[in-house]
């Protein structure tokens, strides 16, 4: 936060301490800060307000739910339907199509590049008649609300740099992630929960799962408070949210009251506004101790809602439980929710493994979209689905009638968006007959990130900070364009 803004915000509190005598308590402070009963602050008193010049224009999306399928989901087996590939079964990918693209060290020494048509059934969904595979049928039922981009491309061909790129716009560590940029620019709507929450659910595929990196939700060169806060799949849902064993709420509250009085007393000597800021952070911590357990408690959900997400929903740490948590977070004013689901790196045994992955995710994603709509949150929430790259049409390893693997493919892959400001039913871009090259309308990941910022009311060229002598932006130094074709 700008120190000046921070300072202005603190005035209310300072006056309170000076004039009203000291009686702190969660409630007392909350009322001073202008919270309504649900804990949503009035905008003037928000602890983390937006930057002064933001938003640049009226935002469509108040919140973003970003579903990242880590490892690189196969576009060929989900959203990029290539029916005629059946005729190409086990024939070599023509060199003219391959076109000398760089390959990873894992398949560059293969003597053959046999085409592996998808084993999965494709059908048409929605009014728009979109083709999608059986693996994603629950999601595809919402096709009329989803804009699909079939021609996303990225620079990196290996996981580490590609994962870093999709989230930070750079292949090397050190840059700020999408969620951090959004919370830095737009602040938080909630004083009881962090602005940017990350979930890393369990996964079902059995192969060795690719890693995540905390830099995917790190603030990089932005101040550390814009880091994504992990909502953890086991143990404390938020780090250190529980009092130590033997410390009751009463004991903690009493201790915090004295702490605030001592700190206020100290402020009167030192005059450093950071002291007051610390007092309010302790109060927010205390509020989180109530708001987080309430957040993760699903007992208020109807049976129908729970059922829609699938049976895993009540198992803490699953994708389904993360999906409903995403809705609950957005409902409570959290700006960005990221779910990073591992296990999508199918170099071998793709058919069985991707089926497990989709069993884990598809129903819950469909339910999430429906749930958001039903609660009127869909219009103000942007949902994004994708991975760090796609996969090759040719089989890595042996191709059989029932089994194949696919290597990394950064040249074209599918991502989709739904919700706030998105033109439902739209499709952008076509890949070639082999889903190996872009035939029309390429969309770089940076374009997509520019579009996400745009929907949040941010001109991506104007949201920058000085880093290493440059105006660093999420979308890099090259000219990027907002993908207007998929906007409503």
């Amino acid at each position: 936060m700008d120190p000046l803004v921070e300072w202005t915000n603190l005035q209310t509190r300072r006056q309170f301490f000076h004039h009203s005598g000291i009686r702190l308590g969660g409630l007392g402070l909350a009322s001073v800060l202008g919270h309504n009963a649900l804990g949503a602050p009035t905008s003037s008193a928000r602890m983390n307000p937006p930057l002064p010049d933001l938003p640049h224009f009226a935002p469509k999306a108040k919140a973003v739910i970003y579903l990242h399928m880590n490892g690189g989901p196969s576009q060929l087996d989900t959203w990029d339907y290539k029916p005629h590939l059946a005729d190409w079964y086990d024939k070599d990918l023509p060199p003219s199509v391959q076109g000398g693209q760089r390959l990873t060290g894992m398949t560059s020494k293969q003597t053959r590049f046999p085409v592996a048509p998808s084993l999965f059934e494709f059908s048409r969904y929605g009014q728009c008649g979109r083709w999608a595979s059986e693996l994603v049928k629950h999601t595809a039922l919402h096709s009329d609300d989803i804009a699909l981009v079939k021609t996303v491309h990225t620079n990196a061909i290996n996981h580490d740099p590609a994962c870093t790129f999709v989230m930070t716009g750079r292949e090397v560590p050190g840059y700020a992630s999408l969620g951090s940029w959004l919370s830095y620019g737009l602040g938080s709507e909630s004083d009881n929960l962090p602005a940017f929450v990350v979930l890393t659910p369990t996964w079902k595929s059995t192969g060795a799962a690719q890693a995540l990196f905390t830099r995917m939700w790190s603030s990089g060169f932005l101040p550390g408070r814009f880091n994504g806060v992990a909502l953890r799949s086991s143990g404390d849902p938020v780090l250190y949210i529980q009092n130590p064993d033997g410390v009751s709420t009463a004991s903690r509250r009493s201790m915090l009251d004295t702490l605030a009085e001592m700190n206020t007393h100290r402020f009167q000597t030192m005059g450093d506004p950071d002291i007051q800021n610390r007092i309010s952070q302790y109060e927010m911590a205390f509020r989180m101790q109530t708001s987080v357990p309430e957040l993760v408690d699903l007992s208020g959900e109807t049976a129908a809602t729970l059922e829609s997400y699938g049976q895993d929903v009540s198992k803490q740490g699953t994708f389904a439980s993360s999906a409903i948590m995403a809705r609950r977070l957005v409902e409570r004013g959290v700006r960005v929710v990221q779910i990073l689901h591992r296990g999508w790196d199918q170099h071998g045994n793709l058919p069985s493994e991707i089926r497990l992955q989709c069993q884990d995710t598809d129903q819950a994603i469909g339910a999430l979209l429906a749930d958001l709509k039903q609660r009127g949150l869909f219009e103000s929430t942007l949902v994004v689905w994708g991975g760090e790259f796609g996969r090759t049409v040719y089989s890595q390893g042996t191709l059989t009638k029932t089994n194949y693997g696919r290597d990394h493919h950064p040249r074209n892959f599918c991502m989709w968006m739904a919700g706030a400001g998105v033109k439902g039913g739209a499709v952008l871009g076509e890949s070639d007959d082999f889903s190996y090259n872009i035939a029309s309308d390429p969309v770089h990941l940076n374009d997509l990130n520019a579009t996400i910022l745009h929907l949040c009311g941010i001109d991506h060229e104007r949201l920058s900070v000085k880093f290493q002598g440059l105006d660093a932006r999420l979308t890099g130094v090259e000219k990027q364009k907002v993908v207007s074709q998929i906007l409503s």
Binding site: V172, R215, R232, V247, M255
Partner: protein, 1047 residues
Amino acid sequence: MFTQSKTRVFHVLAAFGFSLLSNSALGAGADQTQTLLTFNRHVRPILSENCFSCHGLDAKKRKADLRLDTPEGAYTALEGAFPIRPGNPAQSSVWKRIQSVDPDEQMPPPDSHKKLTLAQKEIIRGWIEQGAPYEKHWAFEPIALPRVPVQPTGEKKQDSAIDAFIAHQRVKAGFVKAPEADRATLIRRVAFTLTGLPPTPSALEAFLTDKSTEAYESMVDGYLGTLQFGEEMARHWLDVARYADTHGLHLDNERETWAYRDWVVNAFNQNLSFDQFTIEQIAGDLLPNATLGQITATGFSRCNVTTGEGGAISEEYRHLYAVDRTATVMQAWTGLTAGCAQCHDHKYDPLSTKEFYSLYAFFFSAADPPMDGNISATEPYLKRPSQTQSEALTKAKTAEIEALRQLAEAAGKLDYKEPDLETGGVPLPGTQVVFDDNVPLACEIRNTTRNPSVWITDPPFGAHSGRRVLRQLSGQFTEDILQAGAVPLTVPENGECSFWVRLDPQSPPRGLSVQIQGRKAYWGERAYTDGAKAQAGDKDLGLGQLPPPGVWTQLSFKLEQLELKPGSRIETFAVQQNGGIVFWDKCTITGRLSPKTDPLVSMQQWWGAFTKKAKADETDLPANILKSLLAGPDKADSTAKKEVQDYYLGRISATVPVEILKLRAAWLAAKVERASVSESVQGTLVFRDLSTPMDTFVAMRGQYDKHGDSVEPGVPRVFPVLKKERHEGRATRLDFARWLVAPENPLTARVAVNRFWQQIFGVGLVKTSHDFGSQGDPPSHPELLDWLAATFRDSGWNVKALIRVMVTSEAFRQSSALSPEMRERDPENRMLARGPRLRLDAEQIRDNVLFVSGLLDKEMGGRGSMPYQPPNIWEPVGYANSNTRYYLQEHGASLHRRSLYCFLKRTAPPPFMSTFDAPSREQSCVRRERTNTPMQALQLLNDVQHFEAARALAERVQQEGGSSENARIQWLFQVVLARTPDERETVLLRQALQKQRELYRNSPQDAALVVNAGEAQPKKSAPSPESAAWTLLANLVLNLDETVNRN
């Protein structure tokens, strides 16, 4: 509208006095008697920010052929118009365009999203009017020793030059300096600044009662002389060096390079001069007769992140590492953001792409492989034996050679006869050793961690057999896989496998197993690698509960239970563990073996059983023997046959005379001794060049595979020339290192003193301590910066002397209390009219609570320790078989070591670091942010590290704090804050204590939990409710804003 009136310029400037004050670092803004605008201070920042990206150094991006960063460019007419006509704004197209409202004319153009303020426009106009004089960028000018200003009237004489410079500027700006802080505040401030720890009560007492005029200075000198000084100084440097304990990319496996970290600590403690500190880290390996320490120092350039990702392209990573190493060195020593120039000419500073790649050429021929192999000791890896270890190793090697010679000599005299398989074919009982103090000859042993297996010699609890035991340690599944070597293993009749294990009492495993030929026998919980989960068989043999921890226990099973066929060979034998720590000893297979199939009895059998997987080994299996063995008996001539026979009799056969067995045992013991000594020597990653340098090219637009011009090692033209030691050939890294610290180098000394200043005062004199280029802030006190830099350089780069001069200045000793007026006028304290007040850094916060609670373990150096960490920090992100996927917390003293020595995994750093703004060390960081978040509050309140410390501190209060409640509260305050509480504070704390007492008396079960928080042994003090109440009070005091600040 804007007429040629000088007064108007000044009027507008005065109106914008405040913004000038903060933008140009409080320079001449408020001083209206000297209103000359200077290029560097006033004009360059505006041009740099708004104009240079299109009209600067980068020739490719230059628009309209116009350059505004040089007078030549700016004064030369283009198409008949002068960009800048000195003295005449009206005839300068720059000024016209700046004022224009026509979008086609206007500069900066609307689509750049840049905009000049009215004040900035006025500065440009005024500057042109004054003749538009250019200056070289201040930081590139030579460093001269400025004259110390005369004391301003009305203030006490300044003792130090620092104070004279500060006073000079402060008085002009109309600020009054703050009074000196009280002694208690001062000693705590100094102790944290110099050691990262608070003062002890006795140090406090000594300082408070020292009546000498030099009391403060002697207190400072005391701290400068402690070993903790080096630790605190190192901590800051390690951010710059991006030191961590893992590789950083993809698997993010462990890396062994902590000796470099310890070198840095030691360098500061020895007060190694900063020029030598520089030379050794950049080119210690090239110094004549380089010492182990000097070579260790080159670990600086091995601290970058590396990958071992399957499929990654080596050329790309060789390029990326060289970019990182170049950019880091330039950042660390010259404060330049050179990395920008990897893709294009630097837009703001005189650094072309080609010049960047000339710097890069110093690092491009690195000897380390681009793929780190995911092992901890990626070459070049330096073993660092101590004197004693070196001697012991020589001795052990000699002894081993001698023992082998005696064995070979005796064996050579024996004859060999194949046993009579007809009459001697009766199966006989026998024992095959799978491993004991070692694995059998030439047996390959692999490990899940990808690192060598760990053998512990003479463990404190005693080996069960011989001297050595195999240790497994992992948060999850790990296995050591033995691949049959020179001594094949055979399944005997009625065979039984037995082994001894000792489970660590503090970290017992969840399960352990033995896997032979893919078949598994397990105790406790069955475990697999993630990848093997799918293939997990149902045929595994469960053998019940784990044995009790802490004692050697023998476990065994019948081989037939695993359906292994007698007579068949065992190619792979794995010992596996699931979480925790297990020690393994003497593993054997017993049973009756028929000579017909027993390679220990029949050479013919042995020769025939030899597998292609065996690898040659200098001592275990010489290449000539292996060759003959693989070729088979039929191909061997008589010499070869004799060699093989001697080898067999000496090292393999079980049916040789006792004398041979004794010699063999002596040799094996000598081998174990040598291995033990050798393994005890620890190593570190070091930097070295390939013997033949690689051809180096400009990577066009930063792309590794787009070669541009070829480049030679060299430095940018704007700087003083680099002197080569040898006339011929390329410039070396050593030449480069010496160039950095050459007296004529304008940057190194400025950048270094500024970073030390930042460390001590919180903000550098150049606020952008990472950027001394034209995009960075100019210094708030340019003369002071140069005085410090020149003095530092001319003192022989004496770091301790520099730190002493800063810490003993009046500026540092001022009270940090802040009046509303100062808060308004100088929120960042750039005028230094008060003392620094800073939130403690991550490490200091943790170390502080450990220190005051008496838990701190002061052990220095060594492998990073693993203190408390909540579950699921590593696990949700780590790659399946990364050896840093599962965190295994240590116990005992390791829990309480200084944070500097805690293991840092880059892709998931410990929360006690990251929550408090410590960098992940994935790249160089020269300045940490200081944020204030609810996550920090939660951690300080609830993290077991902090709550255990509160509990231990409460025990101390009750034992050492006297008997009255008042005395105890005083003691607590004194220990934590180095001062006594005032009346109000005492009252508040007593009320709080009383309240907690009531709560805990009503809830003794809670009290019992509180007084047992953490693993540190509770000291018997008062009854639980009383101790619990004090624990909460200690928790409160440890959470005070004052406690987490350096006041």
